[in-house]
């Protein structure tokens, strides 16, 4: 992001996190999240309305364009809280639309009347976003949108520019599939949708921002799942002792903590670099590195949390299961660890060439 040279980022972050309490209960209760599952798109429009009232879609819109102009440090602070609360609403996709469209973000999105999602990815398993435009029509497919069936508008990213189209647009169909966390993962099929393309030079930058922000969501998810597991290790007794007193479990809990702190440090440092003007190569590598570790962390904690909960961890009733299913659903978005490592591997040669 170009913005947020703001020295007050900590104060901003504090305020944003505070405001997130409206969406994420302080006591960590997940009743709302549990109920929203497997019901249409798996998220609550009323919460998206609240998010709009809190200004979240404007997060990455510059102040000069009427936005909040906040940076990655503030964003990551917010995303971490959302991850802790397993918030299913597509807040990040909306922020991306704001970042891409800036002053062109539709008024109805700002007021919370309409939900906009960013459709960027061309195929599963790769980070390409250039497809989708032919002449002045949208033709092709965009994949892996969460909850598209409940969206009103799409910001469609192509190499011809950005197009904002309503869900009801002629020539646009949605193919929906249920996800483990109770939401959906949808494809947009576009067979000649008429569109005005707005030029946009910042797609890569916005994707990097989003990748970092998504890493913070996974960090929050893993942090809370580890807390729940540590609580369980303290209270669950077998052989007349808390199971947390067994050293084999203690060592593995410690390993999770180490991974968690590595992830937290990497995200904080990368967000600071993003906010204080890193070059394109540093940004690309930083986002990949954070996403890679955050995804591995989330899956490590998910796996160990189940094991340490015993049979309780295999149930849908225990909250820990919600974290496991969410981790499985979210860990590979914005590039699986495998893809991120491949991307970083190709950069090795570029570094040498430079």
């Amino acid at each position: 992001m170009d913005g947020s040279m703001n020295e007050d980022w900590q104060e901003n972050a504090r305020m944003i996190v505070e405001s997130a309490r409206a969406v994420v209960p302080a006591d960590g209760a997940l009743d709302r999240v549990r109920k929203a599952r497997f019901d249409g798109a798996g998220f609550d429009r009323a919460v998206m309305q609240q998010a709009a009232e809190l200004g979240w879609p404007l997060m990455w819109i510059g102040e000069e364009a009427g936005g909040l102009g906040l940076g990655l440090r503030e964003t990551c602070a917010l995303m971490e809280v959302l991850g802790r609360g397993l918030v299913p609403e597509p807040v990040l996709s909306t922020m991306m639309a704001g970042a891409l469209l800036q002053e062109a973000l539709p008024e109805t999105v700002m007021t919370g009347e309409a939900v906009i999602l960013t459709a960027w990815q061309d195929v599963t398993g790769a980070l390409d976003w250039q497809g989708g435009a032919k002449g002045d029509l949208l033709i092709g497919t965009k994949v892996n949108l969460r909850g598209a069936v409940e969206a009103d508008l799409f910001a469609i990213v192509t190499d011809a520019g950005l197009a904002v189209v309503p869900r009801s647009a002629e020539g646009l169909t949605i193919e929906t599939a249920e996800t483990l966390d109770g939401g959906t993962m949808d494809r947009l099929h576009m067979t000649g949708v008429a569109a005005d393309f707005l030029p946009c030079a910042r797609v890569e930058a916005v994707l990097q921002d989003a990748t970092l922000a998504h890493s913070a969501y996974l960090l929050g998810l893993a942090d809370r799942a580890l807390e729940i597991t540590l609580d369980y290790l303290r209270v669950r007794k077998q052989f007349d002792r808390p199971i947390g007193s067994f050293q084999s479990l203690q060592h593995r809990a410690t390993e999770m903590k180490i991974q968690l702190e590595l992830t937290r440090a990497a995200i904080a440092a990368t967000a600071r670099r993003f906010d204080t003007g890193a070059d394109a190569a540093t940004r690309a590598a930083g986002a990949a590195r954070c996403k890679l570790r955050a995804a591995e962390l989330a899956m490590l904690v998910a796996r160990e949390a189940v094991q340490m909960h015993g049979a309780m961890g295999i149930t849908d009733e225990a909250d820990i299961g919600l974290f496991v299913r969410k981790a499985m659903t979210e860990a590979n978005l914005f590039g699986s660890p495998r893809q991120q490592r491949r991307m970083l591997a190709t950069r090795l040669d570029q570094e040498e060439a430079a």
Binding site: G125, M299, G310, A311, M328, T329
Partner: protein, 384 residues
């Protein structure tokens, strides 16, 4: 039913052909290759086919209605059923209770209960675990008090696999609170339709009700519904057949998962990626080496040698290997890892199904941690 041939006298190849033909000819029109358990209403036709042919209890002696298979032949039967993708039946009666009654039951109990397992009239559930007694099974609190000619049972059992399908349950109940934990437990047989028995289904991570809680509220059963002597239930329950402890470490689950991983990788365009291949080959070697280790145990069974505590190695390695394969599936499947249902309707491609079905394998039947504790003490003889 005509008398069964002496299968143990057949060559392995001949027996394998016999089993293959049997399953191909007789398997009813029900799902194959299911990663989750089928319920009784779905799997009953297969149970009944096996029952009618005298094949439902492969390890029971022939004079009790079994096939009388030795370990080597039993393994072939399991392999061929799995190759075909035959569904697992409600097998707690055939696999656990039957052998247990044969060893510890009275003549009257054998005469009454064994034929009912063979015919499919009785479907059994296992009621060992309780909310407070999992790894520490000897901590069971569900209580049974003798009142004249009846046991009066109060308490709770949990995690009973397919308990909602069962009409009988065997439980470990506390019958003496004054002695060492293990010494005050009895093994009781309880009809699920007895007054005071209620159940509550529990959904698992795949949102399927595969296990349940069972509550006992002043449940009365006749005094002779006990297996073994009063307060001797611990040793009765521990008498699981040696070869079941071997077979639980068989490499087939992992081998099958590995072939699914290959398909997922091919679909994701990862199959030719040298980095992926490096990890795939490492897993493949794990499967092959596990097979070799497994065979050494099968040889021991064939030779009639004792199976010791070291057999836990098989289960530990097998279950963790299965999980590692499933974890690589999740990475390779990329965004599709989050799908609730199989992509393209092809279950072989469903990474999440394998991942989730692999989770309990390190928890039930003795958790990996407990088994490592056992190995450290009983095999490595490390100090407490």
């Amino acid at each position: 039913m005509t008398a069964l041939p002496d299968y143990n006298a057949m060559s392995d190849a001949e027996f394998r052909r016999t089993v293959r033909t049997f399953v191909e000819t007789n398997y009813p029109d029900i799902p194959r290759y299911s990663l989750s358990r089928l319920h009784w209403d779905e799997v009953k036709p297969w149970y009944m086919v096996l029952s009618e042919h005298g094949w439902i209890c492969p390890t029971w002696p022939r004079e009790h209605g079994g096939m009388g298979l030795n370990a080597g032949k039993h393994l072939i039967l399991i392999e061929e059923f799995e190759r075909f993708g035959a569904a697992r039946v409600n097998d707690i009666g055939p696999v656990m209770l039957g052998p247990l009654l044969l060893k510890h039951g009275t003549e009257a109990q054998k005469a009454h209960f064994l034929p009912r397992i063979l015919s499919g009239e009785d479907v059994w559930a296992q009621g060992y675990s309780e909310p407070g007694a999992g790894s520490d099974l000897a901590a069971v609190r569900c209580e049974a008090v003798l009142d004249g000619e009846e046991w009066v049972i109060n308490g709770q059992k949990t995690w009973c696999t397919l308990g909602m399908d069962a009409n009988w349950i065997f439980i470990l109940a506390r019958t003496d609170k004054t002695v060492k934990k293990q010494a005050g437990i009895s093994f009781l047989l309880v009809p699920m339709d007895a007054q005071g028995v209620t159940i509550r289904n529990i959904e698992n991570l795949e949102l399927e009700a595969e296990f349940c809680e069972v509550f006992f509220n002043d449940v009365r059963v006749p005094a002779d519904h006990i297996v073994g002597r009063v307060n001797d239930g611990w040793s009765v329950a521990k008498a699981l057949l040696g070869h079941e402890r071997v077979f639980i470490g068989a490499p087939r689950l992992s081998a099958a998962a590995l072939s699914r991983l290959k398909r997922i990788a091919q679909r994701a365009g990862a199959w030719d990626d040298p980095v992926f291949r490096d990890r795939y080959v490492a897993l493949q070697c794990d499967v092959l080496d596990l097979s070799d280790l497994f065979e050494t145990y099968v040889d021991r069974l064939r030779d009639g040698r004792e199976i010791g505590a070291d057999v836990a190695m098989l289960k530990i390695f097998q279950s963790e290997l299965y999980q590692r394969i499933s974890e690589l599936m999740i990475q390779v499947a990329a965004e599709d890892a989050g799908l609730r249902h199989a992509p393209e309707g092809d279950r072989q491609l469903h990474a999440a199904a394998t991942y989730l079905s692999a989770r309990p394998t390190t928890i039930f039947g003795g958790s990996t941690e407990i088994m490592r504790n056992v190995l450290a003490k009983a095999v490595l003889e490390l100090p407490s």
